[in-house]
Symmetry: C2
Subunit: 324 residues, 2 copies
Amino acid sequence: MELPPPYAELVKKEIEKFCKELSRTPAELYEPMRYMASMEGKKIRPAMLLIACKAFRGNLRDALPAALAIELFHNFTLIHDDIMDNAPLRRNRPSVHVKWNNNIALLSGDALMIKAYEYLAKTPPAKVHPIQELFTETALKVCEGQQLDMNYEKEKNVAVSDYLKMIGLKTAALFSASLQMGAMIAMASDKDIKRMKIFGENVGLLFQLQDDVLDVFGQQQKVGKQTGGDIVRNKKTFLLLKALELAKGSTRKELQNLLGNNMLPDEEKVRLVKSIYERVDVLHHARKQMELFRNRAQTAIKPLKSTEIKILLRLTDNLMSREI
Amino acid sequence: MELPPPYAELVKKEIEKFCKELSRTPAELYEPMRYMASMEGKKIRPAMLLIACKAFRGNLRDALPAALAIELFHNFTLIHDDIMDNAPLRRNRPSVHVKWNNNIALLSGDALMIKAYEYLAKTPPAKVHPIQELFTETALKVCEGQQLDMNYEKEKNVAVSDYLKMIGLKTAALFSASLQMGAMIAMASDKDIKRMKIFGENVGLLFQLQDDVLDVFGQQQKVGKQTGGDIVRNKKTFLLLKALELAKGSTRKELQNLLGNNMLPDEEKVRLVKSIYERVDVLHHARKQMELFRNRAQTAIKPLKSTEIKILLRLTDNLMSREI
């Protein structure tokens, strides 16, 4: 999914400036922060914040600190999640805890979160307080979502609805907050802020389902992390939970046996689980669910007419037509 | 060191209220936060914040959110430090990462830091911005100090002056910030805020040296953590670095051999290092250094005359007459 140039570019420039500030000691603290912040990435959350700001005729300069804060916070969660999930790769490069070690990843993640709050506080005074409130509320939701995600790895019976609730917290809340913040900084009406909230929630859910799909059916080079990693770790994704719902009889038993089998080589496990996914046509169901989120997102903002709203509508369409 | 009743009691009441708010799901996230926040402890940092506020005739109610934020931030650092140091005990109870696991400790620590920012934002609007700025600056210093501390565990030549710089960041910065915040919330003059800053820095250094001494010469029951833990982990404390400076000839060689010896049972190692500490009379030198910090702290605030300043002066004296 490509974002139109001015927004992602603006964010990248802010990140570059931020990275320059990190030439400090101790290097073991600041270098991993720079490594993470300067990784290639779509910068989709902060770019959406800026687009939302522009959609309501806000000044992008006022929104840049919050946009950077959102991206730094996101980077913090990636560093800590990679420790917790023991994930070796992030955007095709070694995760921070692999390149350095767990302690350094833990601490530099902490420092990134503090930096996020530092930038957030640079938001113009008229709006800084509600922005901070929303940010903090969202940050806690993200932690709750991550905890539920870890819980689900151990639980036997997780419903698709539990999963959707979890990604609502872990992923969608930050999308939603980004879009709301952009509108808030532009002094949009409460009604319009609400529209961005609903749009963001649904785009976040859509984005996560796409991520689940790409983890299994994407190409490692494009996705930037170990393909099939979710399957190897028995991660309760939409695909797995839906497949468990769909599979009957011997197929269901086969899938459950695969989940309990620790002896199988990773590649073999991925191949076998994938073949079941294809047999029950779980992709079709994922697509249905994604369409639902896409439609909800689009319905929320369609009454608003502007170039930026058109950009947002197109983005949601792009999230559907992923490359696999 | 006992704090006069109203201050520590006020903090404890705030913590109790905070803990009640944590009856939320997922319990795996919120229960460890409550466990940590409700541990026995002197609440010295937030209590000092309140005393500083009162010293300049501020309203304690205005200072309570910041006091709670300081304590929650401190708890966050304890949870994460215990993971990094692999410390089994905290205040005589299992550390969070031992009672639960590393992932839960990591995430509930993150959530505590977010909660700290949530409470900080409840500071009255007239002062919230500079308070947040100081808090963020301090939080980064604490991370820098922790990183230096970890670096020093691996470095061969660490000078006593490096160590003092490190604890200036890791420990003293938060004391100093607490005292400054109290004064800031009370609308004290810049000159008086500066006095509290200097007082806090020196009290923090003093506090850390006392902690180093208690780790070796204290009783586990009173200290609340594994006695001699610093020695077992070859932690570069004031005592070790000063002893390395003081020890000559065969004593120095003996100490260095002990540091490189991984085969020795923990208790034996603690006993032998301790005997060298006694031989070179490192406690005498620690005491000299502590007196220096005590005097600097007292000099900074002596010109101010009030009941609360007297309390602070007495506190620094109490930090000298530790029980071992």
